[in-house]
């Protein structure tokens, strides 16, 4: 089931997350990174489902048989970005080497007070995007997300940076998208991720890395409803302390007529899937959907 990510319990106890957060903040990034190895070995041993999903994905993207070393690399890359979130959430950007591509256009629009949607994926680190605005006293950005799902992670994020937690717009309320529209009208940026589906979501089948996969229709329908420009944004982790942020204009306007045949919707979501595929090939170990992404829709 492609919605398997919801069913997959957040692994790692509250204690483990707190411990690594404490070590990161008190002993520093280098010490905390040593812990990533035993953590990865633990997950390689006990997280069978994630291991199989990783191997399946890597075989598609690399085009060769993925072995345990590939999967280990994949897990390590995921764990490293989770750890770095501690530093990013506490505004310790200094220790990262971030190379930014294509953000000028977004910054110009922010100066003109033109609200934009920033569409990402569970590819790399979304938090690194906050470094985009550090010279400008912070970008006015909110993030639309399913708050219940990653409750534990969010709880820690809130403890680290309560102000940031206020910029989360929880999905699901009858008025949550009205809030998105208000933020955009005020010239702010709203980020969301376009790759995971939830039960009851409208879905679209797209060709992705050689096979049909299910994508949510929601992000494109939202873009059409708010009539705001859409930028794609991916914060790719490149090993060590290096990140690469890639931003590109996806569309000035996503036009999906209500009375249409569904072709326009299909077109836009497929285009998103194609760009996502491109960035998966650029940075294969950044794909952080550890469930069978190509499973048939429920």
């Amino acid at each position: 089931m492609s919605r398997g990510w919801l069913l997959q319990r957040e692994r790692g106890s509250r204690f483990a997350l707190r411990l690594i957060t404490w070590i990161a903040l008190h002993l520093g990034r280098a010490s905390a990174r040593i812990l990533l190895y035993p953590i990865c070995i633990y997950f390689l041993t006990f997280a069978g489902r994630a291991r199989r999903a990783s191997r399946q994905y890597l075989q598609r993207v690399l085009g060769c048989r993925a072995n345990i070393m590939h999967v280990g690399h994949h897990f390590h890359s995921f764990a490293a970005t989770i750890l770095d979130r501690v530093f990013l959430l506490t505004d310790r950007y200094g220790q990262f080497d971030v190379c930014i591509h294509g953000a000028e256009s977004i910054l110009q629009r922010v100066q003109r007070k033109q609200g934009c949607l920033l569409l990402g994926a569970h590819l790399g680190s979304f938090e690194i995007m906050r470094t985009l605005g550090i010279d400008e006293a912070g970008l006015p950005i909110s993030v639309l997300m399913y708050e219940d799902n990653a409750a534990k992670t969010i709880e820690i994020a809130k403890a680290l940076n309560p102000e940031l937690a206020n910029t989360v717009i929880p999905i699901g309320g009858v008025d949550s998208l009205l809030l998105v529209k208000e933020k955009l009208d005020q010239g702010q940026l709203v980020g969301l991720l376009g790759d995971r589906t939830l039960a009851h979501d409208k879905i679209v089948y797209c060709s992705f890395l050689g096979e049909r996969a299910v994508f949510p229709a929601g992000p494109m329908l939202l873009a059409a409803a708010v009539k705001a420009p859409v930028f794609l944004c991916f914060g790719l982790y490149r090993g060590g302390n290096r990140y690469e942020v890639h931003c590109e204009l996806f569309a000035e306007r996503v036009d999906i007529p209500r009375a249409g045949s569904g072709q326009e919707l299909q077109h836009w979501v497929q285009r998103y899937a194609e760009r996502l595929e491109h960035y998966c090939r650029v940075a294969p170990y950044n794909w952080f959907n550890f469930y069978d992404f190509w499973a048939a829709a429920p």
Binding site: I171, V174, D175, S176, L177, V180, K181, R258
Partner: protein, 88 residues
């Protein structure tokens, strides 16, 4: 209350037209939930509906209004909100 019924019919037509629903506006049960159950609308429908209502009746639905869930609970509740808040 012919005027209230008239407005209810008008709001029902606006819902059907805005969301391009394949139903007869007069067939909407005014007391039934609009979202999830009932008409089965979702959050994008809610946004589009809110924008269309604002444009048609000249008020602004605000995301921080604590009554939003109630306002959108049924056709009747929505019509009542329009009746009280309309500016045109």
């Amino acid at each position: 209350m012919p005027e209230a019924n008239h407005l209810e019919g008008e709001v029902a037509r606006l819902i059907v037209e805005t969301l391009n629903l394949d139903i007869d506006p007069t067939g909407i049960d005014p007391q039934a939930p609009l979202f999830r159950e009932g008409l089965g609308l979702d959050s994008i429908d809610a946004l589009e509906l809110a924008l269309a209502l604002s444009q048609r009746y000249g008020f602004k639905l605000r995301a921080d209004d604590p009554n939003n869930t109630r306002i959108f609970s049924s056709l009747r509740a929505l019509t009542e909100y329009v009746r009280v808040n309309r500016a045109k």
